[in-house]
């Protein structure tokens, strides 16, 4: 074993770091209230910021939006360890990350899409100025995603879509939906679901805001009333969408925002060093020390699992267990970090961003509420435990 970065990895890390510090939109990291693991305070899900798009285009110029893609499809040829380094640095500095289009849609289109689909969408995704929202969840299909009811009926060269999506993060500030709908209700979901791109401007789409627990408009519910989607927008086989979607989950494995856990922890360390209570620095308080040490340990374990996952992917090993473990660990950590942080900061911790008395810009107050979402979004902790038990340990489904 060797836990050190190689020279090439160190060089790449320095390059990413330098790029971020030079090109990041001014004031972005201070303004953005993203909480590690959470879904409700991601600035990009709320507003469309031209400065963010410019930053992303610059990442695109360096090939960093496509570095995850297989080399044979023009990918960046970076290792997964390097990708992990990239995401870690981006999230550490609170810079805007990758869009759904580059993270999920691009690799899926490259793997399963037609030549036409590739020609139409890939160049735009690579450039970095196309924004997709994920049209997966429905009111009656959350953890049980196979239960989706939205229908896509073939009519000539079009699909006619009717139904409803929900928890659609950033749908109102996106260009297109990356969507699944049922083509054949009588077939099992994995044989009767289409995966396709739907342009937000298509007539019949209504987007209604859902205000989340933090008071931010990040989610939406989206209604489809006889929405006509050209058949050429369908990815691969008309009825195999559910399978493609499951495969695409692998592309998200390293999207953990690992660096932001460390960054917020460092905020807390600094606070403990600089704050007196009862005439004594917080960092001298044995309870504070113990809490911080515990957080540091859990963050270290998460980091190890994170790089282990990337390393396994580089070595053609399947990190099924590790990927679920890291989701489980980091999302629980998201809560612990917010809670322990608030306990350490005491009364002041409840102050919302904007108050001049709010420590660490009120980030932990937002984070405390937002961390509720970490263990729910993108596969709840319970779903992760099911995967670990069934796929990882071979226990049977009930």
């Amino acid at each position: 074993m060797d836990f050190r970065f190689s020279e090439a990895e160190k060089r790449f890390r320095a390059e990413v770091e330098e790029f971020i510090l030079q090109e990041m939109p001014p004031g972005y990291a201070e303004k953005d209230l993203y909480w590690p693991g959470g879904y409700g305070a991601i600035g990009e899900f709320e507003v469309r910021d031209p400065a963010v798009e410019k930053f992303r285009e610059k990442m695109g110029e360096r090939g960093w939006l496509t570095m995850a893609w297989p080399k044979e499809y023009g990918g960046g040829g970076h290792s997964f360890i390097e990708q992990a380094i990239f995401f870690e640095r981006i999230s550490y500095h609170g810079a805007p990350g990758m869009d759904v289009s580059a993270l999920i849609s691009g690799p899926t289109i490259l793997r399963f899409g037609s030549e036409e689909l590739k020609r139409e969408w890939i160049p735009r995704i690579v450039k970095g100025n196309l924004k997709f929202w994920l049209a997966y969840s429905e009111p009656n299909a959350g953890s049980d995603l196979a239960a989706i009811q939205t229908k896509a009926t073939i009519d000539g060269d079009d699909l006619v879509v009717n139904g409803q999506k929900i928890w659609s993060s950033g749908a109102h500030v996106s260009d297109c939906g990356w969507m699944v709908a049922r083509t054949d209700m009588s077939a099992p979901p994995y044989k009767g679901t289409a995966l396709f791109i739907v342009d937000n401007k298509t007539p019949g789409i209504t987007i209604r805001p859902i205000v989340n627990i933090n008071g931010f408009h990040s989610f939406n519910e989206v209604f489809f009333d006889n929405v006509r989607v050209p058949r050429k927008n369908v990815v691969g086989d008309m009825n195999m969408g559910f399978y493609y979607l499951m495969v695409a989950l692998d592309f998200e494995r390293l999207v953990i925002s690992m660096g932001s856990f460390r960054r917020r922890f460092e905020d807390l360390l600094k606070y403990a060093h600089n704050t007196r209570r009862n005439g004594k620095l917080l960092c001298e308080d044995v309870r504070v020390r113990s809490k911080l040490a515990q957080l540091a340990t859990e963050i270290e374990i998460a980091y190890l699992l994170y790089y282990k996952t990337a390393w396994m992917m580089d070595n053609n090993l399947f990190p099924n267990i590790e990927a679920s473990e890291i989701k489980l660990i980091t999302t629980l950590l998201s809560r612990k970090l917010a809670d322990a942080g608030m306990e350490i900061m005491g009364q002041q911790s409840q102050l919302w961003p904007g108050s001049r008395h709010a420590p660490i810009r009120g980030r932990f107050a937002v984070g405390y509420l937002d961390s509720i979402s970490a263990v729910i979004g993108a596969g709840t902790s319970e779903i992760q435990r099911n995967i670990l038990a069934q796929r990882g340990l071979g226990l049977k489904r009930a």
Binding site: D2, A272, I301, K308, I321, E382, L393
Partner: protein, 377 residues
């Protein structure tokens, strides 16, 4: 980065699993646990022949030329199977002390005998308060010209009941700095005035009380420099801590494997209990704890093995593993239900060791405080 084991380590892991399941079955584990010696000479001889006892020591002293990290891989497996006996005290506590601080002559005569399996050794460190802090060392060694005279009581000394020799940490000078004035002596366990009493403990590992009463120790038995023993002890404690973590990780893995296998077979309500989500989620929590403990332990072991500053990593590993192994063992017990609560069942062998392991070389609170200090707090 390279986050996998190399080929030799994989082979070592595999062969250790096979060897121990054959040569150290649970029947033997129980016999040894229940005996007064906890020691099988036959198994010891075989482990020496396999080169395990000399694994991390240089070839010129009869060792195998491996690293601390190699040893960690082996200890993971030894923890998995449970291997009673003085391996830990002889190899980790004593072998590394001699290697790091012993004179050439001491290495030639003692480390070589350790590697060959001829000599069992332990380290008498902790005293009545059971802590791993320098100020707790009160056993005194008084210089009487060409020899020293030891007086004091050591507690929780592993395997002193069968050790041929003991390393003893004693105070040779009083100083306002408790780290100063500690020296290490190599003492023949048969020396007049050495009294060993086996302690009855929850873990059934062979911890002893060792009383030194006017024990005469020749001057040449000093290991390392006079009054400067503490830095050596600190280095040995780091190795012992991470080595204990490795054993615990192995034990946690075994508890998980046993429980998962049982969950697949045990039928209630007409189906295997492993098909119930409550049980599945226990198992998911267990595997997450086991893997997390292993990664942090291996990182710590690698760091120490490479000679890099490792205080933070080692303490993180022990803080985490101490609690994680207990969580895993408790959930395993829950899955086994009543049968796991019996002496006949194997689970208690692990449950006992999870607690004993937590207490050895500092518990979670102790190590979190070290992590905090390392964080600059």
């Amino acid at each position: 980065m390279d986050l996998g084991l190399n080929e030799e380590q994989e082979m070592l892991r595999k062969s250790a699993r096979e060897f121990l399941s054959k040569e150290c079955p649970k029947k033997l584990v129980r016999e040894l646990d229940e005996s007064d010696t906890g020691f099988s000479r036959d198994l010891w001889k075989k482990m020496a022949e396999l080169g395990w006892i000399g694994l991390p020591f240089p070839e010129k002293f009869g060792g195998n030329g491996g690293t601390l990290f190699d040893l960690i891989v082996l200890l993971d497996e030894m923890g998995y199977n449970i291997v009673p006996g003085p391996f830990f005290s002889t190899v980790v506590l004593s072998g590394f002390t001699l290697l790091e601080a012993g004179s050439d002559e001491q290495k030639q005569s003692y480390l070589s005998k350790i590697c060959s399996g001829e000599m069992v050794m332990t380290f008498a460190l902790t005293e009545l308060d059971g802590t791993y802090l320098p100020k707790s060392i009160e056993t005194a060694a008084k210089n009487k010209g060409n020899h020293y005279v030891l007086n004091g009581t050591k507690l929780f000394v592993p395997d002193a009941n069968i050790a041929d020799f003991m390393l003893v940490a004693a105070r040779t000078k009083s100083s306002s700095n408790p780290e100063e004035g500690i020296s290490i002596f190599l003492v023949d366990a048969k020396s007049p005035g050495v009294r060993v009493t086996l302690l009855k403990t929850l873990g059934r590992d062979k911890l002893c009380e060792v009383v030194f009463e006017d024990v005469k120790v020749p001057e040449k038995s000093l290991v390392g420099k006079l009054d400067s023993g503490w830095p050596i002890i600190k280095s040995i404690l780091r190795k012992a801590t991470v080595a204990k973590c490795a054993e615990m990780v192995g034990g946690a893995q075994a508890s998980l494997d046993m429980a998962v296998n049982y969950a697949k077979e045990r039928v209630q309500f007409n189906r295997p209990i492993g098909s119930f989500q409550a049980i599945q989620h226990y198992c998911a929590n267990m595997v997450t704890d086991v893997d997390g403990s292993r990664f942090i332990t291996y990182k710590a072991a690698w760091t120490e093995s490479e000679g890099l500053p490792s205080d933070m990593e080692v303490s993180m590993a022990k803080a985490w593993t101490s609690e994680a192994y207990k969580r895993v063992a408790v959930l395993a017990h829950q899955i086994f239900g009543a049968i796991g609560f019996t002496m006949d069942h194997d689970m208690h062998l692990y449950f006992r060791r999870a607690k004993a392991g937590e207490l050895a070389y500092g518990d979670a609170d102790f190590h979190r405080e070290i992590v905090a200090a390392q964080l600059g707090l």
